[in-house]
Each structure stands twice: as structure tokens, then as C-alpha cells.
């Protein structure tokens, strides 16, 4: 597949929007506009953006607590995502969830799960409903490599394979689960090889290369859709920033981070676009300005948005209660 200018600029914009969003979120955290846990996606943009290109509008997405990138790439309104981080009623989840619990029913965006591995059974169930209803839908389930050690990974992979459910398992292998390096967490560090134990076809891809992710995801999603069986896609990537805002990063070398930043998805794709003559510096600068404006506007929106009144505290516990 040759890359067109339009598509190239689209991918760039999608990734850059996430990057700028996350940078701003970090600032807003320092300003105490955003509180609680904040897990940023810097460095991993190519994964969410690459995978989303392969999905159709009816497809479903299950994400983690590091899900701003997935939400934005899935098309959730930037304003609403930012407002959610602020905890405002205009946020994606009405402000109830915050950074870790972004949901959007209209876009089949099923969150935003802060229990490592907790989203996998959910994705299996979505796939089961699709199978039983004969619905043409693929569920894309994102999780970190840390989740692979959880029992829920094992149970979910087996169930999806056994019942032939249309689920794409996407492992974002950024080499660390908080401070625990992959080789201190898994006896078999070649994660995509684990899929064989469930008879699930799998592939590992360079998660810093948005085109490679897109291609691999398209193949995988297509296979899931036509074969009606799960697939496993390991995206090898890196988290540029701390795990959350509380992390002193004692567990990794600055050099390692620097090295990976040199392989960053935006850097790399910028080079690719210019080498292919698909974009000028001006093109990219214009996109950056537009994206910055979007983010600025989102911040302004979130700032201005009202708080939910305390009187409605107990809403949304049950469906029938005042909702």
C-alpha cells in the first residue's frame, strides 16, 4: 500500500493531536486542574492511531487506564475528553470517571478500565454478543504487556479462541509495567509467541512505526472479521514519560529513554513524510497549529464547563434512579 499525502497528513495529525493533548494534560496536572492518576501515552501514539485506521465505525474498542490516545484516535471529541480529565459534567463520562474511565456509547468506546487485565473478559463478552447476534463487528482490546501475567489474560485468550470470537487482542508492549521490566515479569518475553498456546494467530510489529501498525492491524482486523476468530497483535513500543505523575523512574536509564525517543513515532513519521515528499515543514507546522488550537479550545471548554451539582451525587448507581 503506498502512502498518499492525504492519508499521511491524517496519520500525522492523529498522532500529533494525542501528543499535544498529553503534553497539555501534564501541564494541567501540575496546575492541579487534573487530579488523581494520570497515565500519559507519549511515545505510543502510533499504536492507537495505527490500529484505529483498521477499524470500521461499528467496531468496538476496549482500552486501559492509559487511554487518552485510544479515545482521541477513536474519534471522541477532544473537548469532552479534556472535560473528563477535569471531572466536569460535560466530560465523556459526565466527569464521573476522570482520566482512567473515558467512555463513549455512540462510538462503541467501552472504556477506560483501571484494573490491569480487567478489560479482556469484557472484550470477549462483546465478541460473544456479536457472534450470537450475527453482528458484523470486531472488538479491539488494548492492554499493556504487564497484563499478560494476569490470569484474566489466559482465561480470555482461551475463551475467545475456543468460542471463535471476533476479538483483536492488542498488546501494547512498552517494556515496563510501572517499574517492572518485561523480563522480570514474564518467563517467556516473546509475548506474541504465547498466543500459540491458545492456537491464536499472532504477529509482532514495530509499534513506533504507524504505517507498520496500520498494515498489521488491517490484516489482523480483516482476518478476525472474515474468519470470525481472535487474533493477537503485539505492538512493540515505549512509554516516554513516567508511568503516572508519581513515578521517579528509578527502574530505567535516562539513556534508554533517550534512545527510544530517537525512534519516536512522530519523529520517524515526520522523516518518512518528508523523505517521500508527501509533506513540507509548512504542512506539518500548520497541522501543529491546528492541533494546538484544538487542544487550547478543549482546555477552554473544560475550564468553562460547569461542575455537576453535589445534589446528584448518587446518580448512575442504578439505571432507574434519577438518571
Amino acid at each position: 500500500m503506498t502512502l498518499t499525502r492525504d492519508h499521511g497528513l491524517h496519520l500525522y495529525r492523529e498522532m500529533l493531536r494525542i501528543r499535544r493533548f498529553e503534553e497539555r494534560a501534564a501541564e494541567l496536572y501540575t496546575e492541579e486542574k487534573i487530579r488523581g492518576f494520570l497515565h500519559l501515552y507519549n511515545g505510543e501514539e502510533a499504536v492507537a492511531v495505527g490500529v484505529m485506521q483498521a477499524l470500521q465505525p461499528q467496531d468496538a474498542i476496549v482500552a486501559t487506564y492509559r487511554e487518552h490516545g485510544h479515545a482521541l484516535a477513536a474519534g471522541l471529541p477532544v473537548n469532552e475528553v479534556m472535560a473528563e480529565l477535569f471531572g466536569k459534567a460535560a466530560g465523556s463520562s459526565g466527569g464521573r470517571g476522570g482520566s482512567m474511565h473515558i467512555f463513549d456509547a455512540d462510538l462503541n468506546f467501552y472504556g477506560g478500565n483501571a484494573i490491569v487485565g480487567g478489560g479482556l473478559p469484557l472484550a470477549v463478552g462483546l465478541g460473544l454478543s456479536d457472534r450470537m447476534l450475527g453482528r458484523d463487528r470486531v472488538t479491539a482490546c488494548f492492554f499493556g504487556e504487564g497484563a499478560v501475567a494476569e490470569g484474566e489474560f489466559h482465561e480470555s485468550m482461551n475463551l475467545a479462541a475456543l468460542w471463535k470470537l471476533p476479538v483483536l487482542f492488542i498488546c501494547e508492549n512498552n517494556l515496563y509495567a510501572m517499574g517492572t521490566a518485561l523480563d522480570r515479569s514474564e518467563s517467556e518475553t516473546d509475548l506474541h509467541a504465547k498466543a500459540a498456546g491458545y492456537r491464536v494467530a499472532s504477529e509482532a510489529v514495530d509499534g513506533m512505526d504507524v504505517e507498520a501498525v496500520e498494515t498489521a492491524a488491517a490484516l489482523a482486523v480483516d482476518a478476525v472479521r472474515t474468519e470470525g476468530k481472535p487474533r493477537f497483535l503485539e505492538c512493540r513500543t515505549y512509554r516516554f514519560r513516567a508511568h503516572s505523575m508519581f513515578d521517579a523512574q528509578l527502574y530505567r536509564d535516562k539513556d534508554e529513554v533517550t534512545e527510544w525517543k530517537g525512534k519516536g513515532p512522530l519523529l520517524r513519521f515526520t522523516k518518512r513524510l518528508s523523505e517521500a515528499g508527501l509533506a513540507t515543514e509548512d504542512d506539518l507546522a500548520a497541522i501543529d497549529r491546528e492541533v494546538m488550537e484544538e487542544v487550547d479550545e478543549a482546555v477552554a471548554f473544560a475550564e468553562a464547563a460547569p461542575w455537576e451539582p453535589v445534589a446528584s451525587l448518587t446518580r448512575h448507581v442504578y439505571t432507574d434512579a434519577q438518571s
Binding site: F103, L120, G125, Y318
Partner: protein
């Protein structure tokens, strides 16, 4: 209306069958619900009637298949997930508490989880320490869940349909000691309310509050007491979350004495919450401290005599009432 003989087991089965006939979105999934017919033979015959798609044997993966029930509910189905027993539900608690119970709230009301989870509960069959838990109190603690305990044939027959119609997750506790219970049921018995407690026996001297498998022991105790001139009112909670305060308070306001019978280990069993609500809402109606007869604080032992001694029994209940009235 004609009535027929049936059992608790058959009543649950009839409820599942009806739900599956009436609504193509309903399906049953769990360990050995299909070929084996269910570990308590509840789902015997359903595989043959509804086929593999709708009666799904699962691998031994409690967390995944309960979670899959949540996902399927989100995806438009109406799953009945059977967790063989509450003992194994510990392996699925993360999904139940952190996902099923919170999803609606975390999503700001965008997603409901119309899921029914059935599980057998309780002791009394010499299954020893790992297979005899009564953890209804844990589930009843969690906002976002509804919890019911059918103790009668009519409730076994009727609660499931109502639970399935509920847009939120409902946990149904079936006491394993009840499956063989026989009795008559109206042929057109159907859905029943799942939010109100029921007075199963009226009486003026003391209110006995209970639920599930303990209801029948409590009724036996009340029967014995009646022979001694003590008229006990027996309230079956039916719904453990929410708790129907009004019914128990009303009863207490007539009897002025209450005792809670609960198969959970005494400390922090449902009996504690019932006692507390009576104190909060009807303190000045109480002529005596609320009493409770619960399980002893010991993992349930295997031998019959020790197990019996560990659990509430009619005689223990009756003597607790006698003591209370004498005091």
C-alpha cells in the same frame, strides 16, 4: 387456578426456560450447565431444547466467563451466568465489583449492565470449609449490584424473570439445600417483585428476620414456639440489596422484639446490617436488644455433628427467642 407439584430446582429451571423462550437475547452460560445438566441438575434438558449457542458450557475460568457475561450484556444480550457456587465466585469478584457494579457509574450513565448471575450458596451438606460459604453479605455491600435470595418455590420461579428485566446486574443466591424442596406452585406462576420483603408467618410476640435457606429453619422454630404459646412473625427479606426496611420496621413496631437468623458467619453477616437498621429506624420500639442466630465463627467442618453445631438450627433459634422473651 390449578396447581402442580414441583421442586425448587424445577422452578428455577422453569424460570430459565420461560425466559429463554420469551426473549432470544437470553442465554445461559457457566460450568457444566450444558452436557452435565448443571452441578445441581438445574439446567437438565435445556441444552437439548435450546442448543449449544444458548446453553454454553464454559471452561473453568470464572473471571473470564463472568466478565464475558458483562461484555455480552453490554453488547445487547441478556446473559444468565451461573457460577456453580458462591465459593468459586471469589475468582470472579474483580469482574463483578470492579466492572459490573461500577460500569454504569464510571461511564456517567452511558452503559447499563443487564446481567443476571446465579449461584448456589450455603452449607449443610458436609462439603467442608471451602465449599460451604455464605457470602451474601459481601455482595449486599456493593452499590451498583442488586442481590436477591429466593427462598420459596414461587420466588425460585418468579425472581429470575424480574431480575432479567432489570437493567442492572442482579445476583441471585440459591441456597443449595433448597433444590430438593418440594411443594405446589400455580401453573401460571410467573415474575414476582424483587424488592420487597415478605411476611411468611404473622405473629405478635417477636419478629424473626431471615432469608434464603434459613427461612425454613426459622419457620420450624416459629412452629415449635407456637406450641408454647409464643407467636413469632417471620419476615423473609427476599431482596438483600436493597433491603426493604419498611417491612421489617413495620413488623418490629408491632412485636417490639426482633431476632435475625443468618447462615453467614456472625461477625459482619447480614444480621449486623438488619440489627443496625432496626436500631437506626425503630430504636424506641425495641423492648429488648435485637438478637441474632448465625453461623459460628469457624470454617465449616466436615463431620455432620460439627457442621450442624456450626449452623443456625431451629432449636437454637427457638431457644434464643425463649431467652429473649424471658429476659
Amino acid at each position: 387456578m390449578s396447581r402442580s407439584k414441583t421442586t425448587y430446582r424445577e422452578a428455577v429451571r422453569a424460570a430459565i426456560r420461560e425466559a429463554m423462550r420469551d426473549d432470544p437475547r437470553v442465554f445461559l452460560m457457566g460450568e457444566d450447565v450444558g452436557r452435565y445438566g448443571g452441578c445441581y441438575a438445574v439446567s437438565m434438558g435445556l441444552l437439548e431444547e435450546f442448543g449449544e449457542q444458548r446453553v454454553r458450557d464454559t471452561p473453568l475460568s470464572e473471571s473470564a466467563f463472568v466478565g464475558a457475561g458483562i461484555g455480552a450484556a453490554l453488547g445487547g444480550m441478556r446473559p444468565i451466568v451461573e457460577v456453580m457456587t458462591v465459593n468459586f465466585s471469589l475468582l470472579a469478584l474483580d469482574q463483578i465489583v470492579n466492572t459490573a457494579a461500577t460500569l454504569r457509574h464510571m461511564s456517567g450513565g452511558q452503559f447499563s449492565v443487564p446481567l443476571v448471575i446465579r449461584m448456589a450458596t450455603g452449607a449443610g451438606r458436609q462439603l467442608a470449609a471451602q465449599h460451604s460459604h455464605s457470602l451474601e453479605c459481601w455482595y449486599a455491600h456493593v452499590p451498583g449490584l442488586k442481590v436477591v435470595a429466593p427462598a420459596t418455590l414461587a420466588d425460585a420461579r418468579g425472581m429470575l424473570g424480574t431480575a432479567l428485566a432489570d437493567p442492572d446486574p442482579v445476583i441471585v443466591f440459591e441456597h443449595a439445600g433448597l433444590y430438593n424442596m418440594e411443594g405446589e406452585l400455580e401453573d401460571d406462576a410467573g415474575a414476582v417483585d424483587i424488592s420487597r420483603a415478605a411476611v411468611r408467618r404473622t405473629g405478635k410476640d417477636v419478629t424473626l428476620v431471615t432469608y434464603g435457606g434459613s427461612l425454613h429453619k426459622t419457620l420450624q422454630a416459629a412452629q415449635a414456639l407456637a406450641g408454647e404459646g409464643i407467636e413469632a412473625e417471620v419476615v423473609d427479606l427476599r431482596s438483600l440489596r436493597p433491603i426493604d426496611d419498611a417491612t421489617i420496621v413495620k413488623s418490629l413496631s408491632r412485636t417490639h422484639r426482633a431476632l435475625v437468623v443468618d447462615e453467614g458467619w456472625r461477625t459482619l453477616s447480614l444480621s449486623a446490617e438488619i440489627t443496625t437498621r432496626l436500631v437506626e429506624q425503630a430504636f424506641y420500639e425495641l423492648d429488648a436488644p435485637v438478637g441474632r442466630v448465625c453461623s459460628e465463627e469457624v470454617p465449616i467442618p466436615y463431620p455432620a455433628h460439627l457442621e450442624a453445631a456450626a449452623l443456625p438450627q431451629p432449636e437454637k433459634i427457638a431457644s434464643a427467642v425463649r431467652r429473649m422473651l424471658r429476659a
